[in-house]
Amino acid sequence: MTTPNDALAWMYRTMATSRRFEERIRDIYLEGKTPRFNMADGPIPGEMHLSNGQEPCAVGVCAHLGPEDFVTATHRPHHVAIAKGVDLNSMAAEIFGKATGLSGGRGGHMHLFDPAVNFCCSGIIAQGMGPAVGAALAFRMRREPHVAVAYVGEAAVNQGAWHEAMNLAAVWKLPFICIVEDNGWGISVPKSGSTAVPDNAVRAAAYGMPGVRVADNDPITVFDAAGDAVRRARSGQGPTLIEVETFRLEGHFMGDAEAYRPSGEKEAQASRDPLPRLKEHILREQILSAEELAEIDEGARSLVEDAIGFARASELPAPESALTSVYVERVAA
């Protein structure tokens, strides 16, 4: 199968935007946290889970999705949010805890909700599985052609919620796709220490659904596998499980010393960085010229700078706004 050129270009641009975004967040996160690192300090306090390296999982899937399709991401959500089309300004402002953020600073980086593109994420392992299955159920009941996708880390596959949602999606034959981002680690625990099988795709058989393993963090292979799954889902053939071999170029969260990682592993992964690899592919296949790619890189850069600028310039929320939005006020007629 050959990937359409515009899809490749979109994937590259989106990966570049996500990468740039994460790099800027990383640097700004450290502001105010030196010399003494205290998570509570600086313009972006709290935990920060970056997704650098995992962009193929985001773009290869979201390339097939529209704003009505529903996606839940994990505690490591930025790449997926960006690929799903979450407004970058409101997202950045949320991460900075500003009034103009997606939730006015109530949620923060692990709780990004954007109803305009049916995206959300959460901080509890495998917690996004059920909501995505539920959205898929709604689509099915309303005879709408949309799909719902839940992202989980490879370690999340051992959480009960994952199993229950997989079975439910299969019993009800819902337009649902589970993407397992297998970066090999759940914080400090390697996959072999937590998971009874090396390849989670085999677990699809427990639900009578197709299971696919995508090797080598390759956006194009992800694109192909996801395309099949989305087609199956939209045409009423039920759910699919896709596990993508990927890696994180940063620690579990910012501040993670990563002493647990075997020596050489990080370096080897960095040398397989999917972003330059995709760029090389695009050049090699003459899909875009070096100039066009540079233009895309520049576009990504300025998009991100605008978002960061917007976030920095935005007002802090009024302290009392902490007390509102606990309930939605409007009541249906």
Binding site: F70, T72, G101, L102, S103, G104, R106, G107, H111, F113, P115, N118, C120, S122, I124, Q127, M129, G130, P131, A132, V133, G134, A135, A136, L137, A138, F139, M141, A148, G160, A161, E164, A165, N167, L168, V171, W172, T324, S325, V326, Y327, V328, E329, R330, V331, A332
Partner: protein, 345 residues
């Protein structure tokens, strides 16, 4: 509007189970986004008859039996709600909340807050509570405080069929997650005894009982008795006994456990000067203590005696009838408590 002020229509009496099913059916006819899912809610019509007749009328698609996967189907309700559906899910016994509470308190309850109010979560979670029929320590709990403690949830617990229908309609129409607790001793299913006062006249047409409003169900002057669900009936029974002794007890049905209508209670206590709260949930960090605390914070000067509570002691529900009856609240315990307050005769 309450059960007493009902219309001129023929006095049709319903059980809480029937009232719940009727409310759901009426709302399902009106609003195609409403649907029901849970264990045995389909052909069986709900173990506690909460969905009686619905499967026949609405079919498999809108009345869905689920696997025994509470986390999956309750969090699925949250996702379906996020894209515009209004799911009603059933957690068969509240005691099972421990396998799925994350979906309830971290997901449903916080969807509005995390989204700054831009994503609502209009779900109703029906669940049965309470003991008294020897179902043992994992099938007899109330856990009112556990749910009421969590911001973002609304929690209702009707004491009669009239309120059950009105609260159910209000709950389905509410854009926020509502926990609807139905007490097994009031439910009116064939295989359990039923408190007769819970079976009462219920209007045919749809109506709402507002969430967040307590109600004075019996006026009185000497002491305020506060209860809800099953304990409301203990309070009423105690009030009748006390009346024979010349003591006038005002009885309040809390109805909504969160957000709590403390005003109705405060107004009463300001008049009576005495408070007894009856709670079938565990005492430590329970709603009874919370009500006492709020009364002391806000009407301290009005209290002519220390507030008193009758609660489940801090022990798991025992199986044997003689043990369970020993630990359950009772009208006699309420009467004793009131007498101990040295109310002037």
């Amino acid at each position: 509007m309450n059960a007493q002020s009902s219309s001129v229509a023929k006095k049709r009496k319903l059980t809480i189970a029937k009232a719940m099913s009727e409310a759901i059916a009426q709302e399902m006819r009106r609003d195609s986004s409403v649907f029901v899912m849970g264990e045995d809610v389909g052909v069986l019509g709900g173990v506690f008859a909460t969905t009686q007749g619905l499967h026949t009328e609405f079919g498999d698609e809108r009345v869905r039996d689920t696997p025994i996967s509470e986390t999956a189907f309750i969090s699925a309700a949250v996702g379906a709600a996020a894209v515009g559906m209004r799911p009603i899910a059933e957690l068969m016994f509240v005691d099972f909340f421990g396998v799925c509470f994350d979906a309830i308190y971290n997901l449903a309850a916080k969807q509005s807050y995390f989204s700054g109010g831009s994503v609502s979560c209009p779900i109703v979670l029906m669940t049965s509570v309470g003991g008294g029929y020897s179902d043992g320590g994992q099938h007899s709990q109330c856990l009112y405080a556990t749910f009421a403690h969590m911001p973002g949830l609304k929690v209702v617990a009707p004491s009669n069929a009239y309120d059950a229908k009105g609260l159910m309609l209000a709950a389905i129409r509410d854009d926020n997650p509502v926990i609807f607790m139905c007490h097994k001793a009031l439910q009116g299913v064939g295989w359990l005894g039923t408190e007769p006062r819970a079976v009462c006249h219920v209007l045919r047409e749809p109506y709402e009982v507002p969430i967040g409003q307590a109600v004075v169900v019996r006026p009185g002057t000497d002491v305020t008795l506060v209860g809800w669900a099953w304990t409301l009936h203990l309070a009423l029974e105690a009030a009748a006994t006390l009346e024979a002794e010349g003591l006038s007890a005002e009885v309040i049905d809390v109805r909504t456990l969160a957000p709590l209508d403390i005003q109705t209670i405060l107004e009463s206590v300001r008049r009576t000067g005495r408070l007894v709260v009856v709670d079938e949930d565990y005492g430590h960090c329970g709603l009874a203590g919370e009500i006492m605390a709020r009364v002391c914070e806000n009407a301290f000067q009005s209290l002519r005696a220390p507030p008193v509570r009758i609660t489940y002691p801090d022990v798991p529900p025992p199986f044997a009838r003689v043990l369970e009856q020993h630990v359950l609240p009772s009208a006699a315990k309420v009467v004793d408590a009131v007498r101990s307050l040295a109310v002037p005769s």
